[in-house]
Symmetry: C2
Subunit: 460 residues, 2 copies
């Protein structure tokens, strides 16, 4: 029989077990922090009805959607789009979820969702067609105070502190502030503001000159002074809490929209401080616009201080009305998303992933096949004590068993021959420290726990 080549679709990140463990730890850290702040888990089906999913999205999103058909539907193709499609983010499913279950939820509704999403991207290095998003959102009914805008950075801070991937900054801006400013330099039209915001969004990629030229060109027709004002404005970044407040004050009274944006941003900054986020880890950055059109107030980005090339690793913002396509209820919200697959891939590329040990903490070797029942009994005790333990079930050279433990990232190896059994001891070899101690059986669990605790305190 001819073999089918085993292969996976490009644009997916399939991991070997040790990498998968590292990735799983990242997701666990994120999830644990989301839960610590009182966000509740939600999972939605990977498929949504196409009409539900594509209510308001533009052509760009629609071109990237994966449609789903059962075999029956393939046989009898209907006119129009297929009935089902894979979600391309977790925000549209959240809107649908909140509208569908509105009367069973408590508002403000804090939810987290950690699932994969799908985009039919062109295959390209570092671009994923299937990737995890880790989202939190707070959805209010009718109103939602700025205190929730301040809570979000507290969660971001706590997540990235625990992920321990180096110093980072949570950048803040406010769309009203930005809109007010654009009005003040002569871009009053909403559509044009959106276009200008999109231009400014390209600043990092294109550089100041081309952006200035565009702003002074036919589309916008700004004066050199106005264009310069914009380019000065988007350079504004703060360093420390007081500096952020004084830079906001320095913007002056301006128009009502700008003033409202400034007031909101100041209140959000005060809230962030009250939440205990160190002032080294948040700052204003008036260039942040976020591509998505639905943000209406606070916007967030987060970057690694020592790896700016990675770009934002956690972004989001405040939106006026989440589910207007599905319900007449007014549901304002604020939230962020961490693209975990892309983040993991980038950290790996940059060599920033900590060396991950195995989920298996202990290997019970098979020194003497006749003692297998004793090895199984020992493993049973360790598992009952919460220590993940593998037993070598087939006889083999001890040296090979050690090599296996080493390659598999298993920290502790137990050797138990008839001598040790007679003495009531176990030989414990620590693969990382390369030392070996004989431990009385009665103390074994406590000693292993100590060793594993050390392991967690001081990663390799």
């Amino acid at each position: 029989m001819a073999l089918t080549p085993a292969r996976t679709m490009p644009g997916t990140l399939e991991l070997l077990p040790l990498e998968q463990i590292a990735f799983q730890r990242m997701l666990d850290t994120i999830r644990c922090n989301f839960e610590h702040f009182g966000f509740l888990p939600v999972e939605t089906p990977v498929m949504e009805f196409s009409d539900v999913l594509l209510t308001k999205q533009g052509g760009e999103t629609e071109r990237q959607v994966y449609f789903v058909q059962s075999t029956g539907a393939l046989e009898k193709p209907a006119a129009g789009l297929p009935e089902l499609a894979l979600r391309f983010d977790l925000t549209v499913p959240l809107a649908r979820y909140v509208a569908e279950h509105e009367h069973d939820l408590n508002f403000p509704f804090r939810r987290y969702q950690i699932q994969r999403v799908y985009r039919g991207e062109r295959a390209q290095r570092g671009r994923f067609r299937e990737f995890y998003q880790c989202d939190i959102d707070v959805i209010g009914k009718d109103a939602l105070s700025l205190r929730y805008d301040a809570e979000i950075p507290a969660v971001i801070y706590s997540v990235f502190r625990d992920l321990a991937i180096g110093p980072f900054t949570i950048w803040l801006n406010n769309r009203k502030l930005m809109r007010g400013f654009f009005e003040s330099v002569g871009i009053a039209d909403g559509e044009k503001q959106a276009l200008a915001l999109r231009e400014v969004d390209k600043l990092d990629k294109r550089g100041a000159e081309p952006v200035r030229d565009t702003l002074m060109g036919d589309g916008f027709g700004l004066s050199a002074a106005a264009a310069a004002k914009i380019l000065d404005f988007v350079k504004i970044r703060s360093s420390g809490h007081a500096d952020a407040l004084s830079k906001l004050d320095a913007l002056g009274a301006g128009n009502a929209t700008l003033a409202e944006g400034v007031a909101e941003l100041k209140q959000t900054l005060e809230g962030i401080r009250a939440f205990g986020v160190p002032q080294t880890h948040y700052a204003i950055n008036l260039s942040i616009a976020r591509g998505l059109d639905y943000y209406t107030g606070t916007v967030y980005e987060t970057t690694l201080n020592e790896h700016p090339q990675i770009g934002s690793i956690c972004s989001g913002g405040r939106y006026d009305n989440l589910a207007s396509n599905y319900t007449k209820s007014h549901l304002p919200g604020v939230g962020i998303s961490i693209g975990a697959t892309r983040l993991f891939w980038q950290l790996r590329e940059a060599g920033l992933l900590p060396a991950a040990g195995s989920t298996i903490k202990v290997l019970v070797t098979q020194m003497d096949e006749a003692q297998l029942p004793a090895y199984l009994q020992l493993a049973s005790e360790l598992r009952a004590a919460g220590i993940a333990t593998e037993v070598v079930l087939e006889p083999g050279k001890l040296g090979k068993q050690f090599k296996y433990a080493d390659r598999a990232g298993i920290r502790l190896v137990l050797v138990l021959g008839s001598d040790e059994i007679a003495k009531g001891t176990v030989m414990v070899k620590d693969m990382r420290r390369q030392d070996q101690v004989e431990v009385p059986r009665a103390e074994l669990v406590a000693r292993l726990r100590d060793a594993l605790q050390r392991d967690e305190d001081k990663p390799a």
Copy 2:
């Protein structure tokens, strides 16, 4: 603007947050046990190339497959099946994974995988089109001893013991034993054996008479004596370890295939005992055939003693060669699958789900808006101690805040007014016990941990 009705596809199980928490706990328990036995995590993309996924599957499976097309592919339909399809189980992706990464894996390769799979089933109560499978498999290279067949029930035992959904039995059979027996009663042809096995598989659903009639009818043409022998054979169930061995001995020498099956099953039973599984929790059941054609040795089913109508909640077996469609390597394996979505749904229907508290353990109420910074500070300390804490961010009546905690399943509620702040105490209300104590701030973390510990020991 017209609203789009918010709705989900039938055949999916979308849960409200408190149910999702209960479901997540079930998955966590399963995962934790898989890891304790040394199984390593693997995740595969939800989509596979259609030619990889559908190498050997029959028409039934193919009719249930969901195919995936990006918008571009919809515009230019190609001849034949679409390029991509959603996995319908975790076994085919495992075969592909092992063949693709063969040289990077350690064999025997113990892997677990907890992900959703997709089947285009007819919509029907209790039938799911999207559902979680929790699989473990051990894959050997060239050979895999029966000790691994014995390890699998040890994992099953440990999972269902920890899920605490009542007494259960792990049923064992062996396909060789069954095949040898069928040969001995005159069904020598392999195809016919498969058909007879399928008939016997329907015993519970159809009853003995119709199955006997089929066996004596044109297709099989067995004598009444032979048919009676089969029906006696498949009734054999053991009670306790010794009874299992003696019932196997009572089958007699028979032919070589039967003898091999008996020897394998006896060895597996001895192994299961060595792994420490109580003999109350495993038994032989010679009626178990398993629908899938690829099992070649041991087969498993697991049922809840007090809820036989639920059927098998964990099934699997031994197969000769996992990845013969993708590689020339000989890769025998043994494994099982838990259909977690269906199990959760059935437990909920049967009222067997333990009342799940929230992931949020503590609610810090807002008694006095001016004290919000103190509340945030307190929450920060609790989170640092690993206690998931929600803070009421907006002012409101205290009674309403208590009601919210009750409805949301939050166990402990803290009240902190200016009196308590002055005294350095916190009022702790236990929503389940309906008691309230004033606790010195310095002892708070320890006291909350105690209360939550009690919570875990004695579920409501």
